[in-house]
């Protein structure tokens, strides 16, 4: 079965294995009734039928990569809590706000019980005694669906005291944010959950697994990461790793937006599906709109350095994307066709990160603002050649050394691999520079054209609806 479901805007199914989107085809996928009729809470039952450490081992051997951005295996992360220190908490990261990212909201709106079941399995396996499910403030429907699902799950005995009649007891508390991108960063998320301004903490020493919520060991996992656990418990690590590759098993949700024929959210095969498959195959986006040429794409959310057609054959495999100069990040691909005004497009991202800086460290607070101002000037046709050097200089003060970028055969440049060095506490500062650097490395002539023809060209839009 394939097609777009009107009740899951953006989601496009296909004849591929589904681990986390299997219920999206049902109109009532978010109800307890539908959930129970489709193996719901059976993964939890299977987990509780085994000792907690065995469940943890199963998750470890499945290598469930974190889907929030960094791709760190969940089972390994759970093992990093210090021995014998209790209580330990689970904080679920549902703050989805990285530009281009659209998957966690679908998972919360369309299958909240799957997420709840995943949270319970994690708490059981890692000995976490309370769970806080942090949902982005602006997601009204997701909050309502998760609240209703929790109310039903409590009433039916799946959450709370003595779950399924066992000695496993845990509360899941729905918590919601109030609009601040940086709060998606795990230590800022914890600050926010403690009732503070959502500013990141310094790591070390504040690795959440060691010193997290209220100073206690805390596991922070992304919504999609946890949504994988029910299927895994029901089908086993062997079945999980049979999908995808050894280092990147399973599936992942990827949102493709921008200038493709069929923008949408697709569950793809980890490690195997390539960017070319995703952008051009009929079962996915079906090519660039209007038969236009691909100019560039952002492969892993607004923070990621850009790729062009030279990188289309890279599969969704973290290390390969890293060697090519970028990252897979949060499963968000933004596609720009030949009509795109590249400096203006870069500005929409730089403005975002500059605006979202929490102000705790100078290179990000000042640097981001500078980047935005200089780039605005250039985009408005009021820049000078010296501005381009200044952009790089400011960028280098945020991230010393060569900033990662893709190779390009036409330009005769080779890749600078990920990651970068940074002078900031978190990745917001570097993210303000990433689009500027990519655009300057790959499309410098577009910046120069704006400067040389200054005041003679009209201010162009970033892009248009068709």
């Amino acid at each position: 079965m394939s097609g777009t479901y009107a009740h899951a805007p953006g989601f496009i199914a296909g004849d591929r294995p589904k681990i986390v989107t299997s219920r999206f085809e049902y109109e009532d996928s978010y109800t307890l009734r539908r959930f129970l009729a489709t193996d719901g809470y059976q993964g939890l039952r299977a987990a509780l039928g085994r000792a907690a450490n065995e469940v943890h081992d199963e998750v470890k051997s499945a290598t469930v990569l974190g889907r929030g951005g960094a791709g760190f295996p969940a089972g390994t992360k759970w093992g990093l809590t210090p021995q014998g220190v209790y209580p330990r908490y689970l904080v679920v990261n549902g703050d989805e706000s990285e530009p281009g990212t659209y998957k966690d909201r679908l998972l919360m709106e369309r299958d909240p019980h799957q997420l709840i079941e995943g949270c319970l399995i994690a708490c059981y396996a890692a000995g976490l005694s309370q769970c806080f499910l942090y949902i982005r403030g602006e997601m009204a429907l997701a909050q309502e669906r998760v609240a209703a699902a929790l109310n039903d799950a409590y009433a039916a005995g799946y959450v709370g005291k003595n779950i399924l009649g066992s000695n496993f007891s845990v509360d899941i508390v729905l918590h919601w944010g109030a609009g601040a991108y940086v709060v998606g960063e795990e230590t800022a998320l914890i600050e926010s959950l403690e009732g503070n301004r959502g500013m990141p903490r310094l790591k070390p020493p504040y690795f959440p697994a060691a010193i997290g919520l209220y100073g206690q060991p805390t596991i922070v996992n992304n919504v999609e990461t946890l949504a994988n656990l029910p299927w895994l418990m029901l089908n086993g690590a062997e079945a999980y790793t049979a999908i995808g590759t050894k280092t990147s098993p399973g599936t992942r949700m990827v949102a493709v937006s921008g200038h493709v024929k069929r923008p949408g959210v697709y569950e793809i095969i980890n490690g195997i599906t390539t960017f070319r498959d995703l952008l051009y195959k009929e079962e996915f986006c079906g090519g660039i709109r209007n038969g236009n040429q691909l100019k560039a794409f952002v492969p892993g959310g607004g923070s990621a350095p850009w790729f062009t057609e030279d990188q289309l054959d890279i599969p969704f495999e973290g290390p390969q994307a890293g060697a090519a100069g970028s990252m897979l990040g949060s499963g968000a691909v933004m596609v720009m066709d030949e009509t795109t005004d590249i400096p203006a497009a870069a500005l929409t991202l730089t403005r975002f990160y500059a605006h979202e800086s929490c102000g705790k460290c100078t290179p990000c607070r000042e640097g981001g603002t500078w980047l935005e101002r200089i780039l605005s000037r250039v985009v408005d046709g009021k820049g000078t050649m010296a501005d381009l050097d200044q952009l790089i200089e400011v960028g280098t003060s945020i991230c010393p050394g060569d900033f990662p970028h893709a190779s390009n055969a036409k330009l005769g440049i080779s890749a600078v691999p990920f990651p970068y060095k940074m002078n900031t506490i978190c990745f917001v500062g570097p993210s303000a520079y990433a689009p500027v650097n990519s655009a300057l490395v790959l499309f410098r002539e577009e910046f120069e054209a704006k400067i040389v023809k200054r005041n003679t060209i009209p201010v162009t839009a970033v892009g248009a609806a068709s």
Partner: protein, 204 residues
């Protein structure tokens, strides 16, 4: 004026009770205050401070960090048009110009009848449905000038009140943990032992 009503004070205490430390309830209580008055009043912040054990300056310190909290009245409908990359690539700048024209206000402004406040928003996690917007955090996807106009006309005529609550109310469904089912929150320092189920045996 604008301290919590009796009902909301009860709800506030219920929410506080879910957390190991009361201060964690700060943001949910600020939302509750905004729901009650349409924006966060000074008196509400004083009341929240009393409830969670913080000074009103600390409450304001937290509140002012977050975009969604308003400290003066805004329109009945907050119209947030996304302007981040995916939406910009699909014409959100033109949509914003159109919206300014239709509403007769500049971005950031409120219409003179107090119905609409127009804001530029950042990525709303709906990038495949660009350009998109939210009205009081309820989505509209692939918005065209025509669909924008009919949205505004519908809102003005009161045709969408069932779907879209007035500014301040985010979720219309809230969590309630039944007293006989909840485990209950305890301060972290009162727990030292491993949870019962970590005993090497299956729980079921």
């Amino acid at each position: 004026m604008s301290r919590f009503t009796e009902d909301n004070a009860r709800l506030a205490k219920e929410i506080i009770g879910r957390y190991p430390r009361p201060r964690s309830a700060m943001i949910p209580l600020l939302h509750l205050a905004q729901q009650q008055s349409g924006y966060v009043t000074n008196d509400a912040m004083v009341h929240i401070g009393e409830l969670v054990g913080a000074t009103s300056a600390e409450v304001y310190g937290t509140a002012s960090f977050y975009e969604m909290f308003k400290f003066e009245p805004v329109g009945k409908y907050l119209v947030n048009i996304c302007g981040t990359m995916s939406c910009a690539l699909m014409g959100s700048e033109e949509l914003m110009h159109h919206a300014e024209h239709k509403l007769g206000v500049k971005v950031g402004g409120t219409t003179s009848d107090g119905m609409f406040t127009l804001e530029h928003a950042e990525c709303q996690a709906a990038c495949t449905e660009a350009p998109c917007l939210q009205v009081n955090y309820r989505y509209r996807f692939r918005v065209t000038p025509e669909s924008f106009d009919s949205l505004i006309d519908d809102l003005s005529a009161g045709r969408l009140t069932a779907e879209i609550p007035d500014h301040g109310t985010v979720a219309k469904v809230l969590q309630h943990i039944p007293a006989d089912r909840g485990v209950g929150a305890v301060p972290p320092e009162s727990v030292t032992e491993a949870p019962e189920w970590l005993n090497g045996k299956a729980a079921l």
